[in-house]
């Protein structure tokens, strides 16, 4: 239906018309009211005058009529006509005989009673005269009749005069108002037209130029407001252009991003219909490059399947997705979408398969992201990647891993066997060397005692050196056997009171220790889990080292205690001895490695190696911190595994 264009009516004409209507109506009411009031006033005056005159007239005239005093009657009539404005007066007797009359009588005059006087004049103010018929009464007895004709044309004339004057004033006022309103309307609309032209020209024109006309009234205020609005609009427009440009660039970036990624991205509404998609989605689903998936239920081309349902398909293992992994029914894809929409959180699955356009299926790793519209989920974005190649690679890697594990296992077994043989061999050698060494030492000592007089001092010194070397060799052999024994010992874990153990060792060494020079501080209540004999060996070696390397200190301070490092309980044995350069810290735990000459500190260099071996057997860690001339602290941890593996 064609709508008619509304006719343009200028505002000033509307204002003028409205004002004219109001003006005419109001002035009409005013004129009418003035006429009515004037009429009412005249009527009331006339009524009052007659009501005032008639009783006096009646009293005197009635008596005169009774007395038939014609002179008095004539005098009264003359006075009435002269003073009261009656046009004609007649006095009748009871038998209707005319006694006297005065004035010019008109026959066609409306006759009213006194009670009808006011209403009669009001109803017809065009009457020139009205007539009154008044009985002359004395003591309620009618003694005659008075007939009066009253000029009322002055009422009509006065009303007409008021009406004319009022109408003239009203017309003048209407014209004046019309002129003033026209001028005002013209001025008003001229400013408005200027503003309208300026506003219509937006934004192509320079509004600041068009709106510069000032007016010291509401138009001026409006102009200022429009100018401010235009400035604001311009600012907003520039801002909007910038935003639109940014949005275009962002859209291009997003499109580029969407289409450059290999990951398929699909937008779904709450019904699962496609709202947008990227190029990778078309590629993965095997659709034409310019295919259109919009509005299509994409998830109907997706299904949940066991990993081996399709040939060659196997999902990856071991990787923990950042998304919650839902429990899926056979209607898996729809479940994922439903749960995403209901829970408003991202979901992940690598158990889905998509169907290509050629009906072939391929495995995907899939993410469902909720699209939030305020607090409501309006849809979801589904991203997926084809994991066919990854599954294939994972399968191959698994094959290699299994092959390697098998190979390592075989090699480890061989190595363990070889290591055992080597340990057994070294133990046998060491064990077998003990007797000859002891024989050498013994026979050398016998020789030294028996041939003391026959041998020169040089020979005696050389023999002593043989004995000393033998003894050192014997010690080395003992240490090697000890070290070997650690690996060969089966660990029997139990709770070991480290505090009591340390005190026991020190008590054992008590006679040899110079307690005035050596001060030992052992923290109470230290309990560890481990093999009691090996832990005793560990503490004994560490305390021995501490006492030995602080032997040159005036007051040796030995501390055995525990501390917590990174939430782990760590035990330590510290001294204030000679210390060493930490550059050689790696060597101290190797067997037979010494950082000091034997002349300074005797020993075989096996103590810390034994300590390390014990800690290793307990799957713990051991390390050392030292400063030269300040002391050394050995830290260790002990773990309590369910089963301690045999040392290899």
């Amino acid at each position: 239906m064609r709508l008619l264009k509304p006719v343009f009516i200028p505002l000033r004409l509307k204002l003028l018309a409205a004002a004219m209507v109001v003006e005419v109506v109001m002035l009409g009411i005013l004129v009418w009211n003035a006429v009515r009031l004037n009429q009412e006033s005249l009527v009331t005056q006339t009524q009052y005058r007659i009501e005032e005159v008639l009783p006096l007239l009646n009293a005197s005239l009635a008596a005169a009529v009774v007395n038939e005093d014609m002179a008095l009657i004539q005098e009264l009539l003359d006075q009435l006509v002269r003073d009261s404005g009656f046009a004609y007066i007649a006095v009748y007797e009871v038998d209707e005989n005319l006694i006297r009359d005065h004035g010019e009588r008109i026959n066609e005059v409306r006759l009213l009673s006194l009670a009808e006087l006011a209403d009669g004049i009001r109803q017809d103010n065009t009457l020139d005269r009205i007539a009154l018929d008044v009985p002359l009464l004395i003591a309620q007895r009618r003694v005659g009749r008075l007939y009066l004709q009253l000029n009322t044309h002055f009422i009509g004339n006065a009303i007409a005069s008021v009406a004319k004057q009022g109408t003239a004033i009203a017309v003048f006022e209407v014209l004046l108002t019309a002129i003033l309103l026209s001028v005002l309307g013209f001025t008003l609309t001229r400013h408005l037209n200027v503003l309208t032209k300026a506003v219509r020209g937006l934004p192509a024109t320079r509004p600041e130029l068009s709106l510069t006309q000032n007016s010291n009234d509401e138009i001026g205020v409006l102009s200022d407001a429009l100018r401010g609005m235009v400035d604001e609009l311009s600012l907003h427009e520039r801002h909007r252009d910038n935003i639109e440009q940014a949005l275009r660039e962002r859209e291009q970036q997003i499109n580029l991003l969407l289409n450059s990624t290999a990951e398929a991205i699909v937008g779904l509404d709450r019904e699962g219909c496609c709202t947008f998609f990227n190029r990778a989605c078309l590629n993965l689903l095997g659709d034409a490059p310019h295919g259109n998936l919009l509005g299509q239920p994409i998830l109907k081309r997706c299904k949940l399947a066991a990993k081996d349902e399709f040939s060659g398909a196997e999902c990856s293992e071991g990787s923990e997705p950042a998304f919650s992994v839902p429990k899926l029914s056979e209607n898996g894809p729809a479940d994922l979408l439903r749960q995403t929409l209901e829970q408003g959180q991202g979901l992940h699955s690598d158990q889905l398969y998509f169907q290509r356009r050629d009906n072939s299926w391929f495995p995907v790793e899939c993410w469902f992201y909720p699209v939030m519209d305020g607090v409501h989920v309006s849809g979801a974005v589904v991203t997926f990647i084809d994991i066919s190649e990854r599954q294939k690679t994972e399968n191959e890697l698994n094959d290699y891993r299994r092959h390697l594990e098998k190979l390592v296992d075989e090699r480890t077994k061989a190595l363990l066997s070889s290591n055992r043989e080597l340990q057994s061999y070294s133990y046998s050698i060491a064990h077998d060397l003990r007797s000859p060494v002891r024989a050498i030492i013994g026979f050398s000592q016998i020789l030294q005692a028996e041939a003391r007089d026959k041998l020169s001092s040089t020979q005696m010194q050389e023999l002593q050196r043989v004995i000393n070397a033998g003894k050192r060799m014997s010690l080395l052999i003992d240490d090697i056997l000890e070290l070997s024994k650690i690996n060969r010992t089966a660990i029997q874990p139990k709770s070991v009171d480290l505090t009591t153990l340390a005190h026991g060792i020190l008590d054992e060494w008590g006679r040899a220790l110079n307690t005035d020079r050596v001060q030992c501080q052992i923290e109470p209540g230290m309990l560890v889990e481990g093999d009691a004999r090996l832990v005793d060996l560990l503490i004994r070696n560490l305390l021995s080292n501490a006492i030995k390397y602080s032997s040159k200190t005036e007051i040796a301070r030995i501390r055995v205690g525990k501390t917590t490092i990174n939430g782990e309980i760590v035990y330590f044995v510290a001294d204030n001895g000679v210390g060493f350069d930490m550059r050689f810290a790696d060597k101290v735990f190797q067997p037979f490695q010494r950082l000091h000459r034997e002349a300074e500190f005797e020993g075989t260099g096996v103590g810390l190696a034994i300590a390390r071996r014990v800690v290793d057997r307990h799957l713990g860690r051991i390390w050392i911190e030292s400063k030269i001339a300040e002391g050394t602290t050995v830290y260790f941890t002990l773990v309590k595994p369910a089963v301690y593996p045999l040392a290899v």
Partner: protein
């Protein structure tokens, strides 16, 4: 639009002439109840008329301008003589005139009024005539021994005495008794006249005998009208009755006195 003069046809209206012994208002008020009942009996309207003064009235009555004449007897008889009015009825209770002076005045006898000023309603009223006759009987010539002031009505005569304008007043007896409560000065009666019938009613000679008799019967009917019983009592006239020829003849001296005044 109505016609200007709303006069409607009426039955023949009887013109009743009332002697102006009172103001027109008082006259109408006094006689209206009686006239109204008379209209009832006659089934005919009556128009009460009077005159500005006694001479005019007498002149009009003599000229036969009234169908009914309700007047003092001397005027009625004069009208009978001059215009041949016919006497219908008279009112039964005789009236008495009296001479009033102020109660505190020293006058005890009519003789003591010599040289004083007296008020009376008019020189033609029955009471004035009777009063002057009384003065003559006591040796006072009203024209020379006293100075008469005619006030137009009995009320005015009493008021003139009250205000001190005159020394005595000749009025109808009983009027002061009715007015005493409203007057500031107390009066006392010095002398009274001989009684005389106060009023008679005559008909115009132009009326037929039958009409005269009808009117006469109606007048007599009012005497028995219960609605006028109280009225007649208050007025003191008595009730209408037929007059005997002797009673009529007794009025002649009064007429002579009246005629004598006209001649003066």
């Amino acid at each position: 639009m109505e016609t200007a003069d709303a006069g409607s046809p009426t039955p023949h209206v009887l013109r009743a002439g009332l002697i102006p012994y009172l103001s027109p208002g008082a006259l109408i008020k006094t006689w209206s109840p009686f006239v109204t009942r008379l209209e009832h009996y006659l089934q005919q309207p009556i128009m009460m008329k009077s005159a500005p003064n006694f001479p005019t009235f007498i002149q009009r009555a003599s000229a036969g301008r009234y169908d009914l004449l309700m007047v003092a007897p001397h005027i009625g008889i004069l009208a009978k003589r001059r215009a041949h009015y016919r006497i219908a009825v008279g009112f039964g209770n005789p009236a008495v005139g009296e001479v009033l002076v102020r109660a505190d005045s020293p006058y005890r006898q009519l003789e003591s009024l010599r040289g004083l000023e007296l008020s009376a309603p008019a020189n033609t009223t029955l009471v004035s005539i009777m009063g002057e006759a009384l003065l003559q009987q006591q040796g006072l010539d009203p024209q020379r021994d006293v100075r008469m002031h005619y006030t137009g009505s009995h009320n005015n005569a009493i008021l003139a005495l009250q205000s001190g304008k005159v020394d005595a007043a000749i009025v109808i007896s009983g009027l002061y008794a009715r007015m005493a409560a409203t007057l500031p000065v107390k009066l006392r009666s010095l002398a009274v006249t001989a009684p005389v019938l106060p009023a008679i009613i005559l008909t115009h000679p132009a009326l037929s005998q039958a009409e005269h008799q009808r009117i006469q019967q109606a007048l007599l009917a009012t005497a028995k009208d219960p609605m006028l019983g109280e009225y007649f009592l208050q007025q003191g006239f008595g009730v209408p009755r037929l007059l005997t020829p002797a009673e009529i003849q007794a009025f002649d001296p009064l007429v002579d006195l009246l005629l004598a005044r006209e001649n003066r």
